[in-house]
């Protein structure tokens, strides 16, 4: 436990130190750039009544400088800097009318608090939802596999080809199931921005619930981790103790809602328990192996949230703000946000590691 804390904390500390160094370097660069820009032109832009946007003022200035210094490189430099300054007043946030100071400021940090908290809340909720979704979907798939259900497409083809017992209702039911499954696959594997744009005119894509659903259902998050957990269930079910348990008459029927089968209610509960059924042990052992994967799942979920917030331009959310600062080239703020996200990842990883260690002690009878 101590080693987990030390490992994660030292990684976090290293990132904080590196971030601080980069922030200081970037801020020094801002100051250097600003003083370089203003060094030659500071006195000129302060001249009362001088309008840099007025072409006749600029021509007059050029002539005055030429009269004073002759056509020298100094005059060229001054004029180039003035032009640079004139353009930057429209592009540089610090020089714009009512502009704010470039880089990290107290005001910017306080403005980032709410988006950051919102990100943390969305992350926690989507993490819980995904954890529930992965276990439920994988168990459902595993139970169907154990029920010996063949591919629905194969079943449909067989039903259609069977001239003696061609049941139209069955054909429609099967075709409907395949259609729904295809749509579900397209949604589950689609990147969040494609899914969101596809329903943008019908749904409020900026709503909290929509972001939550997108983060869990799209980007392949649910389907990929379901496949991983399903494989673990499959591996576990092939182990010797399962056959041993079956020999000892523990329920092994995978039909839903039969006395010796699987209760559908148990499948949909958050904390899953299949009493007196061999699935209970298979599930618990597979879950133990899945726990370390939760760290990867957390990272992937954050990747999904970044994609959603940036690609959909969701104003007021953390990664949209980050993208804005990338655009303004305020990289010190960007580094600060990344360090914050890194802290969230590290805290999540530490909690998962600690929980895993606790469960491990139980599994190893320590």
């Amino acid at each position: 436990m101590k080693s987990i804390m030390i490992k994660n904390f030292s990684a976090f500390l290293l990132v904080v130190v590196l971030s601080a160094i980069f922030i200081v370097i970037i801020q020094n660069q801002y100051r250097a750039e600003r003083s370089e820009l203003l060094s030659l032109i500071e006195d000129i832009i302060k001249i009362e009544g001088f309008n840099l946007d007025n072409p006749s003022h600029r021509v007059m200035l050029e002539e005055s400088l030429n009269y004073q210094y002759g056509s020298s490189s100094y005059v060229d430099s001054v004029l180039t800097k003035l032009e640079e300054y004139r353009i930057k007043r429209f592009t540089d946030p610090e020089l714009m009318a009512g502009g704010v100071k470039k880089g990290i400021t107290y005001g910017k940090l306080t403005n980032l608090i709410f988006p950051f908290l919102k990100f943390v809340v969305i992350f926690i909720l989507s993490f819980i939802l995904l954890y529930y979704g992965v276990r439920t979907a994988a168990l459902f798939r595993f139970i169907r596999y154990k029920q010996g259900r063949s591919s629905e497409l194969e079943y449909l083809i067989k039903t259609v080809l069977n001239k003696n017992q061609r049941d139209i209702t069955e054909i429609f039911k099967s075709a409907g199931y395949i259609l729904l499954k295809t749509i579900a696959y397209l949604l589950l594997f689609s990147p969040a921005y494609v899914a969101a744009y596809a329903v943008k005119t019908k749904v409020d894509t900026g709503s909290f619930l929509f972001i939550l659903l997108l983060s869990v259902l799209t980007n392949g998050a649910l389907i990929s981790y379901t496949a991983k957990f399903f494989t673990m269930l499959l591996h576990e079910s092939r182990k010797g103790y399962v056959e041993n348990a079956i020999v000892k008459n523990i329920n092994n029927n995978y039909v839903f809602n039969r006395e010796d089968g699987i209760k559908l209610k148990s499948l949909f509960k958050f904390s899953k328990n299949f009493e007196n059924h061999v699935l209970n042990q298979i599930y618990k052992n597979a879950l133990f192996q899945y726990l370390p994967l939760l760290k990867v799942q957390a990272g992937f979920l954050i990747t999904g949230l970044v994609i959603i917030e940036m690609a959909l331009n969701l104003h007021g959310l953390l990664f949209y703000e980050m993208l804005k600062y990338v655009l303004y080239k305020e990289y010190d703020v960007v580094i600060f946000i990344i360090a914050g996200v890194f802290a969230v990842v590290k805290i999540t990883e530490t909690l998962i590691d600690l929980y895993f260690e606790q469960i491990k002690l139980k599994f190893e009878n320590k």
């Binding site: 490992k7 030292s10 990684a11 290293l14 990132v15 696959y185 397209l186 594997f189 689609s190 990147p191 921005y193 494609v194 744009y197 596809a198 329903v199 943008k200 005119t201 019908k202 980007n219 392949g220 389907i223 990929s224 496949a227 494989t231 499959l234 591996h235 760290k295 990867v296 990272g299 992937f300 954050i302 990747t303 970044v306 994609i307 940036m310 690609a311 331009n313 993208l323 990338v326 655009l327 990289y331 990344i338 996200v341 890194f342 990842v345 590290k346 990883e349």
Partner: protein, 284 residues
Amino acid sequence: MIKIISRNKDIFWLFNWITGLLLVYLWCTAYLNTPALKNVVEASVNSFQIALISTGISALLGWGFAILYTSSQSAGKKTLPGILDFFVDLIKSIPQIIGLLIFYIILTVLILNGILKSSFSQLLFMSLGAAFFTFYEFMSLFIERVNYYRKTEFFDAMRSNGIPEIRIVNVDIFLKNSLAHIVHKAISVFGTVLFLQCSIDFIISVGLSTDVSLSNLPLSLGSMLAKLDSKQDILAISNIFTNPAYISDLLTVHLQGISVAFVLIFSLISINKMTSAMLIKKEL
């Protein structure tokens, strides 16, 4: 041939994928205008190319670091494996998309300064970025395979026969006994890179295209999706909720965006299905 395809689900999905892409191409030749078709093909080729190069670099990096790790482990050294563990953990904790965004900022700077001029060098740099945030998957796999075989008699028996450890690891463990694992990992990383690279391209094209014009960066499925006409095509999908017959318009009038999105999603589905089938077939 048909028997092999129907018996092996992984090959079946590979066949499906290639056939699906060919069908999309044929459909597009019939309904999509030539310049748009050219863009769709170029974007698909570029995206698959980046994913492929990136997977190669990722595998090489993973293999290199794994050899370094396992050889220092067997030499009884603890510092180097400890340092590697620490830094790999650190990279793992950076969400991949943020890492790629940092790489793209560097790429922008390099393009603006005229350092990366050719389209291939830009593709290579983009691949390197994606490989940097995926190589640890290969590294973990290689280390896991070596550690697994170290516990068996196989390893000691070969060593007592005088076979050098480097040969046992590379030839007998990786090449002869882990090829299925490596291919499985490569397909999975290919899918991850394809998804990440398209997403970052979409984000960059939507939000950061002021400095580097989109035409400067190699066209990809992500940047194609970010184009205004593609976005309008995707927005049109919602029309089928109120008018299901609109699907025919989607497949003919709005073909650019729909075909790009389909190529991406269908590729991700096929790749996922291939890896799942391999896992079950080879009991990996």
